[in-house]
């Protein structure tokens, strides 16, 4: 596929790795914010090919993972109603709520439908006038234009049997919160290429200046990520704290203006709780008063009070902030696996824990009690496959 295959080229990747090896002179910790980037890194095996001085930590860039438990429980409550057709992006169906997930609701008769595009929710609403169609509007700024457009269309065309359960979060506030946290030790960031496609990267300039960190906007293919890491390392080695664009084929400093206009028309900035982390001020969107009718939480006020119960074992908050790696969690691979996840980071396909489990860091599948870093990825024993004694 054009614009994809070129950025998966093994020769180019090797060249960049060699260049990186020559450039880096001391350990640096970099965080990539986007779950899609985490997924790509693990799937291509890139993280084990990086020089040992590069410590890549994975940030809270997975809207599935950071959607608050209470919202998941609300979604489950709504989906259980016989007068509701609950629609969602696929990723959310397996996320555990306090007692069950949306899949379980489907199993007991809930009408739950996976959509690729949220516009299909309106089509379903038109086809089912006797039901209320609710869309689970999760996402970062990348998805906000799509979610916003659905609400605009619903209002314009007078579609009254539609509502959105909003779980929108934004990146810059999260970076601020991470840098303010004493537990988080990050030297530089790889910013999310598609978030910046929408929003531009001018918002990151004050962050770079305030916290003395380089921020490099990066794409998603292995070569794109290597370009981002290389540029970030170069800046770190020269103590230059700037924002740079390593995904210029899609990103400009200003971003997509028409998209930003619709986002501002439909949403306003608000405080948002992030699952496992807590409330980050000014880190999310909610529907403006003009569109309040389409807010599922206001349309169905009975879901305002829902009791939630998070797993005591789950440390996904620490993983999302890059403070712990998944294999450092005592439940990883034991009580918590993709088949029986305790937290969202093990469920979502780009959640860090799931990525680690799926692509590389496994306990023995033959049931032997083994620590990660020993069997089967004992350093040197399986050459080239990642060891995790960073």
């Amino acid at each position: 596929m054009k614009f994809i295959d070129e950025y998966r080229d093994a020769e180019l990747a090797q060249k960049l790795l060699g260049n990186l090896q020559k450039t880096i002179t001391r350990p640096w910790t970099m965080m990539e914010v986007c779950g899609g980037q985490t997924h790509s890194i693990m799937k291509s095996g890139l993280d084990q090919m990086l020089p040992p001085e590069v410590n890549l930590v994975h940030g809270p860039g997975c809207p599935v993972c950071v959607t608050p438990l209470q919202l998941v429980d609300k979604a489950i409550a709504l989906a259980s109603r016989p007068d509701v057709i609950f629609t969602s992006y696929g990723d959310m169906l397996r996320v555990p709520g306090s007692t069950r997930d949306l899949f379980a609701v489907q199993a007991t008769g809930g009408d739950i439908r996976i959509l690729y595009s949220p516009l299909d929710a309106l089509r379903i609403a038109r086809d089912n006038p006797e039901k209320t169609v609710i869309f689970f509007g999760i996402g970062f700024e990348t998805t906000a234009p799509a979610n916003a457009m659905v609400v605009v269309q619903a209002k314009t065309h007078g579609i009254r049997n539609f509502a959105m359960l909003v779980s929108q979060v934004t990146v810059p506030a999260a970076i601020s919160a991470l840098m303010e946290s004493p537990d988080v030790k990050v030297d530089g960031f790889l910013a999310a290429g598609h978030v910046c496609t929408v929003m531009g990267y001018w918002e990151y300039e004050p962050l770079a200046a305030r916290y003395h960190i380089p921020i490099v906007v990066s794409g998603f293919e292995p070569v794109d990520i290597l370009l981002g890491i290389l540029d970030c390392v170069r800046l770190l080695e020269r103590s230059k704290y700037e924002v740079r664009n390593a995904y210029a084929r899609s990103v400009t400093r200003e971003g997509n203006k028409p998209a930003q206009t619709i986002i501002s028309r439909v949403f306003e900035i608000c405080d948002r709780p992030w699952r496992g982390i807590g409330v980050i001020p000014q880190s999310g969107y909610r529907l403006r008063e003009e569109f309040a009718f389409y807010d599922a939480e206001r349309r169905f006020p009975e879901i305002q009070t829902i009791d939630t119960k998070e797993s005591g074992l789950c440390i996904s908050g620490l993983v999302l902030q890059g403070i712990k790696k998944p294999h450092e969690c005592p439940a990883f691979g034991k009580e918590c696996t993709p088949q029986k996840p305790l937290g969202a980071t093990m469920v979502s396909s780009e959640g860090t824990c799931a990525a680690y489990y799926r692509y590389g860091v496994l306990p023995s599948s033959s049931g032997k009690e083994a620590g990660i870093g020993e069997y089967p990825f004992h350093k040197g024993k399986v050459s080239g496959v990642r060891s995790n004694d960073r």
Partner: protein
């Protein structure tokens, strides 16, 4: 957070009051909303995320980067980006 895939715009039209298009991803064709790309033309490549076009791919930038990459040597610490 951003599964966005580049595709080729093969058709543009209006539907339900929105600018829509047919996008070809290596042989697979899907409809997408182009409301956020008023300047898009048939023949452009675009990044599609959840059925919406978010950017028009800048082929010139892409080619320049790839050319630069092909020229860098693994041994030397060459500037991949200006400045």
């Amino acid at each position: 957070m951003c599964l966005g895939i580049p595709g080729l715009v093969t058709e543009l039209y209006e539907s339900n009051g929105m600018k829509m298009g047919k996008v070809d991803f290596g042989g697979v064709v899907k409809e997408a909303c182009m409301e956020y790309l008023p300047e898009i033309k048939v023949g452009d490549y675009t990044i599609i995320h959840v059925g919406f076009g978010l950017s028009i791919l800048n082929e010139q930038e892409a080619n320049e980067t790839l050319e630069l990459l092909k020229q860098i040597s693994a041994a030397g610490e060459q500037e991949v980006f200006g400045g």
